[in-house]
Amino acid sequence: MKQTLIFAWRNLWRNKRRTLITISSIVFAVIIASFMRGMQLGSYDKMLNDAIKSTTGHLSIMDKDFWESKTLINSLEYTVELDSLIASDPSLSIRAPQISSGCLASSGRNTRGVLIMGVDPEVEDQRSGLKGKIVEGAYLSEEGSGVVIGGMLAKYLHLKVGDSLVVLGQGYMGMTAAAELEVTGIFDHPMSMIDKRFIYVNLNTARDLFFMEGRLTSVDLVLKDYNDLDVTMDKYISALDTTVYDVRSWKSMNKVLLQQIESDNFFGIIIIGILYLVIGFGIFGTVLMMVMERKREFSVMMALGLRPGRLVRIVLAETIMMGMIGALIGLALSFPVIYYFHLNPIPITGENAEFYREFNLEPILEVAIKPVSLFWQFLIVLILSIVAAIGPVNSISKFNFVSIIRGRE
């Protein structure tokens, strides 16, 4: 065994060029695979962070009956304890208390069913970039009882900045909620549902309108690191009385996003599988040619008495060594490559950049640094190389070395 390894090692360095070519195949393979996976994982990260941030948040605290029946009757009492629990949690990047309810908005002869979102203006802007979407008038402020509405709703109700609209609905305990509110700003939102039917007000306005003193429909929480999801969720579940409160994760609130990510992952795995296929063939080709190139050398060795089986083991050892060296170098080089792109993500330009911004996603191609994933690429490419090499290496035992030496092959 030791002999085999020594021979293999010496063979490697006898023809440096050949060895380097084969090793470089594998190095590039690892780097490319790492980069692709890094990009895929980067885009999921982006979705898990940006998309979740602006829709449901990673976690949401609500009344235990609220999810099934989203009426104000099922609103939660925002106690001092709950407030301090949330305020003191360092793993949260955004805390978004909300009061939301459907009602009628009317102006002149026109009436439309809308959704009133009572929010903290600063927090909402952090989540969805609403302030930047204002095209006329001004954004919400903490004081006052103004509303901001979408362009399409403004058109339908014939409203300009400064006009007032009437909202009518049912408040907590079925009390009639009615108010005349001034339009302070009009926004342009790419999602037509929001542009047509959402009205934003500050929390105080919503509280007064719906008789929701000390109450909220939910508190949405955004984590700094989405990996903290399970830990944080457990923390809240144990800290809060679950006969009163419900702590929901985005996974149960936004099944569409969850399945979108899962299907993207599925799709991503198919793609990287295809990449492995291409890499595999590349390595197969390289090793096959290497074997072909050394036909004469092998035949001479066999003529000198080296048994075919032994030769195969030596060449196999060579391949494995090259594989390991290549994969290790590849792994080592992957780190700086990925790190570079992580810090300097590739920007998206043109029309696509516009689309990304509209959905409140940064227009960049993110690359994620995940050491575990890099290690997997290292391992898979290594195994792939060895498997791809087996065929060509085995064919050595079938050489007719006499013909080869005689130059007839």
């Binding site: 084969t22 990009m39 339908y156 198919i270 793609i271 291409v278 390289t286 096959l288 040619m289």
Partner: protein, 404 residues
């Protein structure tokens, strides 16, 4: 002469040729299949939205676009001339009346969009008639007015086929009308949100109730092929001042965004696979050239100069590239057809995806344009990838030969 040499070289060493062909074919297959899958995904959403919901082009009166009020109908006659002018390019069209209504049953109520259609014209424009899973598409004998609703709405209202539901809406004078309809058809599209909201009745039944006037409609929808779309759009836009003519991507801006973002992602993935291919080919070709040192040395001894030898090798690569592309294209075509029919089912439950309009299976699809474009790309890449090793090894060969 070099050409013939090149051709014979290719066939002489079949194993070597096979290796290069395989490398190129696999690269081609790889990139094409990636493109097929992502196209399949986006087509599903975009196309099904166009097929069943928004069509390729829609026309409304200017006022209606903003007000969405019943009174803002247009007379069919005003549009007919413009339509007839473009008759050759328009595949199908239909007219509809539209009203927001409340659908109620004993157990629930839900806001819906009530569409009064001409059942024959409509079946040429949307695919609803094909999506009927229970009952018929306006072909049931009943004394009541027929309505075709989505499966999701049926679940919301806790009713079934044959149930009577009441729709309430305001007529053109603002009076509230209550009308009962019998559910004679239930459809299911790949988008459950769509199914909850869109309900269909015969315009002959709806127009008298709305009192909007015979042959007056709110909406005209068209099916037009991609190549003719812009032309028809311009023509209609010109012929019909006072009307808003919108193409599908103007009606639903998110579709275009999704399509575009998907294209971007595909491009990036294809690029990465191409890079892998380059390295694979470079290394393989380096090995090939090294393996043929003796043979090439002999050719030089026979008087061929480096340049000609270089050209011969490049020519061989071109030939191999062509063979590789044929193999790759055939392989791709077979896989895409096979999977395209059967579809690749997602592992997890499809509920969320149905909300997005994606259904629960992935059908890869590829257009001729993509085949050609990517094949050319791969060929050029392989070619470029083969030139460098050839040049480098030559320079070293000369040095070696001189030393020897």
């Amino acid at each position: 002469m070099i050409g013939r040499l090149a051709w014979r070289n290719v066939w002489r060493n079949r194993l070597r040729s096979l290796v290069v062909v395989l490398a190129i074919a696999s690269g081609l297959f790889g990139t094409l299949f990636v493109a097929a899958i992502s196209r399949g995904m986006i087509i599903r959403i975009v196309q099904s939205t166009i097929d069943n919901d928004i069509s390729d082009l829609q026309i409304h009166s200017d006022k209606y676009v903003i007000s969405e009020e019943l009174i803002d109908v247009f007379p069919q006659s005003q549009l007919q001339a413009a339509i007839d002018k473009n008759a050759v390019l328009i595949d199908a069209y239909s007219f509809r009346v539209k009203v927001e209504a409340m659908a109620t049953s004993a157990n629930g109520s839900h806001q819906v969009t009530l569409l009064g259609i001409d059942k024959d014209a409509e079946s040429r424009v949307t695919g609803i008639h094909d999506l009927v899973v229970e009952g018929t598409y306006f072909d049931t004998k009943t004394k009541l007015k027929e309505i075709c609703v989505g499966r999701k709405l049926v679940e919301e209202l806790e009713v079934r086929l044959g149930s009577k539901i009441v729709l309430s809406f305001a007529d053109v004078e603002g009076d509230i009308m209550y009308e009962s309809f019998k559910i004679t058809g239930i459809y299911k599209s790949s988008n459950s949100e769509f199914d909850k909201i869109n309900t269909y009745v015969l315009s002959d039944d709806l127009i008298p109730i709305l009192k909007t006037g015979e042959s007056n409609y709110h909406e005209a929808a068209f099916r037009i092929s991609e190549s003719a779309l812009d032309q028809v759009y311009s023509s209609l836009h010109e012929e019909l001042p006072g009307y808003e003519v919108m193409r599908w991507f103007e009606i639903n801006k998110t579709l275009r965004a999704m399509s575009s973002m998907m294209d971007l992602f595909t491009f990036v993935m294809v690029l990465i696979v191409l890079i892998a291919l380059i390295f694979g080919v470079i290394n393989t070709m380096l090995m090939v050239v090294m393996e043929r040192r003796k043979e090439l040395g002999m050719l030089r001894a026979l008087g061929m100069n480096n340049f000609s030898i270089g050209r011969m090798i490049v020519l061989e690569t071109v030939l191999l590239g062509i063979i590789g592309s044929i193999v790759g294209n055939v392989l791709t075509y077979i896989s895409v057809s096979w999977f395209g029919d059967r579809g690749i089912k997602y592992a997890s439950a499809a509920e969320g995806l149905e909300q997005m309009g994606m259904g629960d299976t992935l059908y890869p699809e590829l257009g001729a344009y993509t085949y050609i474009a990517i094949t050319l790309l791969v060929l050029v890449t392989a070619l470029i990838a083969s030139i460098f090793p050839v040049r480098r090894v030559f320079r070293q060969n000369i040095a070696e030969t001189l030393r020897n």
